[in-house]
């Protein structure tokens, strides 16, 4: 299949600047957590559960990671096509967790939660590209759902480059074929909190991709914001109806 046809269409029929079907819900797991969310970016689907702030389970011993925020990701083997088992200590997943911790440490107003722990766990249900962005978006929503104070939204998306054309929100096929940048943007600003590139990219194309990526992040932020407001109104109406 053509990754990007001369007629300007991608293999799945999108144009260069179109994001995939983005669907999100919050408060999906009321009983098992303090805050929860479900995010779908195309066929990438993740569930995020937040517990806390709560007392540090082993108060005597200082937790190894000095942070009060923990992230764990579980990837069942049905996540990918090959049905490959993911090892618990897979370095790539560990790295992903560290990235997420370091991102949200700055965004959550940690000084409000001294000597407590916020534990975030993510379950990936299906993987079709854009795993890190989905996780970031899901955590943002779940933290909001848990009522944890944050400075702003963090929204995230990836941008790839095909020849000279930037492509927004890559799926798995495109991720395999193209070099791409993953960005996490704070709120409606142009400030980048998270930035990750793993394949070669010409320096001269960086600016272009950053610009498109920031626009994409803002779009995601807006959809998330709508969902939060929709859910808020729903709750409000439930209360007022009582």
């Amino acid at each position: 299949m053509e990754v990007y046809s001369p007629e300007g269409l991608r293999a799945d029929g999108r144009r260069w600047n179109e994001v995939r079907n983005f669907k999100c819900h919050i408060n999906t797991h009321q009983n098992s957590s303090d805050g929860s969310s479900y995010v779908e970016m195309g066929n990438t689907k993740v569930v995020c559960l937040v517990s806390g702030p709560m007392e540090s389970p082993s108060s005597g011993r200082k937790p190894n990671s000095s942070s009060n925020l923990t992230v764990s990701i579980s990837m069942p083997s049905f996540v990918s096509n090959s049905r490959k088992k993911f090892k618990k200590n897979d370095k790539r997943i560990q790295e992903l967790c560290i990235f997420l911790v370091k991102t949200f440490e700055q965004i959550v107003i940690m000084k409000n939660y001294p000597r407590t722990i916020i534990s975030i766990s993510i379950v990936v249900l299906s993987q079709d590209g854009g795993l890190l962005p989905s996780c970031v978006n899901a955590i943002t929503l779940a933290l909001i759902d848990a009522g944890i104070s944050m400075y702003d939204y963090v929204s995230s998306i990836n941008v790839g480059l095909y020849d000279t054309t930037p492509l927004l929100d890559l799926n798995h096929l495109e991720e395999n074929d193209l070099s791409f940048l993953t960005l996490g943007v704070v709120g409606k600003s142009e400030k980048i909190s998270l930035l990750l590139l793993e394949d070669k990219l010409s320096l001269d194309n960086l600016e272009k991709l950053l610009a498109i990526g920031i626009v994409g992040c803002h779009r995601i932020r807006d959809i998330m914001d709508q969902e939060i407001r929709r859910h808020g109104n729903l709750r409000l109406s439930k209360i007022t109806n009582k």
Binding site: E95, K102, Y151, K191, L194, E198
Partner: protein
């Protein structure tokens, strides 16, 4: 920002205050990279690199193994990074800390994933035999910025390393020729990725960083250990002389404006070019030395 060593508030304030005035404790400018010192050892692929007080030793070794089943046409390349307490008291032996994971992944991406070493050229008989190249990085002393120095060290060592020549006879058997018998062959290095790390400091409070428009964050290139302890987040750019970004890694920390990141990458490119030339020269000088030695004895 590695934890484990606590810095007193006085020291912290002093350092931040001087950074605000554009001064660093070791006398460098904010955008100045420390001098790199490359020492090439006697045997092929052994290199000792110093970056200020940070010091590492890299050894390359090669053996013939079976390739991965899903990659029959490629050889193996492993980078072993174990940071022991020898480098600094803040590293524990045994369990890997977050920082170590990040550093090893970073080197992995910068050198291995970017195809700096041509894995395809390591194939001997597809699906059966290939070269496995292993780079061991020994961290000898720590004064910040392991990522950049590791990358320089591994690349120097790879460029310097030579593997024994081999031939395949008609029965598809591999004959390894000892290096005295046949001139050993260098590895095929496709490009030289150079890492440049920036550390961020926030002179104001967090809210200003996130909500404000001032973009007053202080950015320091090639942080020392002291600076790393105080910094809020870092950005490592890896690039080569062809103006290719090889990897970017900014794991959270202070939010930085996109334009500032662009400035950083342009600065990083200049530094990368300079270091690339330095590496090339070091290798060339060593080659020349070896050739001369050989000439002296033989001809």
């Amino acid at each position: 920002m590695p934890k484990g060593i606590d810095v007193s508030n006085v020291a912290k304030d002093f350092e931040l205050e001087s950074l605000k005035q554009g001064l660093r404790l070791d006398g460098r400018k904010l955008n100045e990279f420390r001098d790199v010192e490359i020492n090439i050892g006697n045997s092929y692929g052994s290199v000792d690199v110093k970056l200020g007080k940070t010091r590492i030793a890299v050894r390359i070794s090669a053996e013939i193994v079976a390739p991965f089943e899903d990659r029959p046409f490629e050889g193996l390349f492993m980078i072993n990074t174990e940071i022991s307490p020898m480098a600094s008291a803040m590293f524990e032996s045994g369990r890997q800390s977050d920082e170590e994971i990040l550093i090893s992944r970073l080197i992995e991406k910068a050198v291995r994933r970017s195809n700096a070493l041509d894995l395809e050229s390591l194939c001997i008989i597809a699906g059966e035999k290939c070269w496995s190249i292993r780079a061991d990085i020994h961290y000898l002393d720590y004064d910040g910025n392991f990522a950049d120095i590791s990358c320089i060290g591994v690349l120097c060592a790879l460029l310097h390393f030579k593997k024994p020549d081999i031939t395949i006879n008609e029965h598809q058997e591999i004959i390894v020729h000892p290096i005295n018998e046949r001139v050993p062959v260098p590895l095929s290095i496709l490009h030289i990725p150079i890492c440049v790390t920036f550390a961020f400091f926030n002179p104001n409070d967090v809210e200003e960083n996130i909500k404000g428009d001032s973009n007053a964050e202080l950015i320091v290139v090639d942080p020392t250990m002291g600076e790393e302890l105080l910094a809020y987040g870092s950005l490592t750019l890896t690039m080569n002389k062809n103006r290719e970004l090889v990897q970017i890694s900014k794991a959270g920390g202070l939010s930085i404006d996109a334009m500032v990141i662009m400035d950083c990458s342009n600065l990083a490119y200049e530094i990368a070019c300079r270091i690339t030339d330095q590496i090339r020269e070091a290798i060339k000088a060593d080659d020349a030395k070896r050739a001369e030695k050989r000439l002296e004895i033989r001809l």
